[in-house]
């Protein structure tokens, strides 16, 4: 299954909006087969921030693990946010 994030908005910044998006996505999430891959498509998103991403993507990463595939994006805010979220998951002390 592929999810187009732009359906949740094109400026994805606040925690409240990210949390709401995840709640709205729950019904779709229940339809995913246990071995099915979930692809996240960032095309059309203008701005993406760690707060929104942490509310929406982090729970999905925890739930789906390798079955969650984040598609490449040429958007700088997407690239930098994903870099940080992946880094933090493995290493809470980002800077010494």
């Amino acid at each position: 299954m592929k999810i187009e994030l732009k359906k949740f908005g094109t400026t994805l910044i606040s925690r409240q909006a990210g949390s709401e998006a995840l709640k709205a996505f729950q019904s779709t999430l229940r339809e995913i087969e246990s071995d099915e891959i979930l692809e996240i498509d960032f095309s059309g998103v203008l701005t993406f921030s760690p707060s929104w991403g942490d509310e929406f993507l982090t729970p999905l990463m925890d739930l789906l693990g390798d079955k969650l595939v984040l598609l490449d994006s040429d958007n700088l805010s997407v690239q930098e946010t994903l870099k940080l979220l992946k880094n933090i998951k493995g290493n809470p002390q980002v800077y010494s």
Partner: protein, 239 residues
């Protein structure tokens, strides 16, 4: 860690004016210099120059320090107002030559800082809720400020051993720790730090007497203790 003083020559270079102009401004009171122990040489605090350079910063500073009435142009009483104005700025930046790619990172940084103000002061605003949000596209800067509890008070709820504003701000920019623990939060300012290093953005951030500067060309994370205790937080993003 004390803020260093700049010579009049250094100050003139930063403000793009002559040394004679600075002497005149000092005599007229437009920009007052510091004279050490009654000496004749003029010195300037870096922060004073930054405030002088930017009317937006000056306006935000006056609101933070003295609670002067704020124009509705700059005041976002709640996060919904902020989101709407940030989206408007996003559209303006997208159309600006040279920012076709970096606009998204500028908006993400402003969004993280502005939303931090709302998230960490929810139910705790000492007096005026909401934030100052102003921008100047000609001078390529965004200014965000709040009259909230500041970084130290926010983080001390989860790390009582924190005593100074400098230590608290260091933690805020370095560790995944949030004043809203046990919620798993606290990545906003780490993101701001990382992208400021990687992207063409300069940052000035202050809370209490802690001051962070990340500026060209080195972009190193410079944390110092200033002379003034600022309530809440103030951030200037240059792009």
């Amino acid at each position: 860690m004390e803020a260093k003083l700049l010579t009049i020559t250094q100050a003139a270079k930063i403000l793009h004016v002559s040394v004679d102009t600075l002497r005149r401004w000092d005599n007229s009171g437009k920009l007052t210099a510091i004279k050490k122990d009654g000496g004749v040489h003029r010195f300037y605090k870096e922060k004073d120059l930054e405030i002088f350079l930017n009317d937006l910063v000056n306006t935000a500073h006056e609101w933070m320090m003295h609670g002067v009435e704020l124009s509705p142009t700059f005041y976002c009483s709640n996060s919904a107002v902020f989101q709407a104005r940030l989206t408007k700025l996003e559209m303006l930046l997208m159309q600006k030559q040279g920012l076709e790619k970096t606009f998204s990172i500028i908006i993400a940084v402003a969004g993280e800082i502005g939303n931090n103000s709302f998230d960490h002061n929810l139910g705790k605003w000492p007096d005026v809720p909401g934030i100052f949000f102003g921008y100047d596209l000609d001078n390529r800067c965004i200014v965000l400020a709040d009259r909230g509890i500041g970084v130290l008070e926010s983080l001390r709820t989860v790390r009582p051993a924190l005593v100074t504003h400098v230590d608290a701000v260091k933690v805020a920019f370095s560790e995944v720790l949030s004043g809203r623990s046990p919620e798993k939060r606290g990545n906003g300012l780490k993101f701001v730090r990382a992208v400021t290093i990687a992207q063409p953005i300069n940052l000035y951030f202050t809370s209490g007497d802690a001051e962070v500067r990340m500026k060209d060309p080195l972009k190193e994370f410079r944390l110092t203790r200033g002379q003034e205790i600022m309530r809440g937080c103030l951030a200037v993003i240059e792009f």
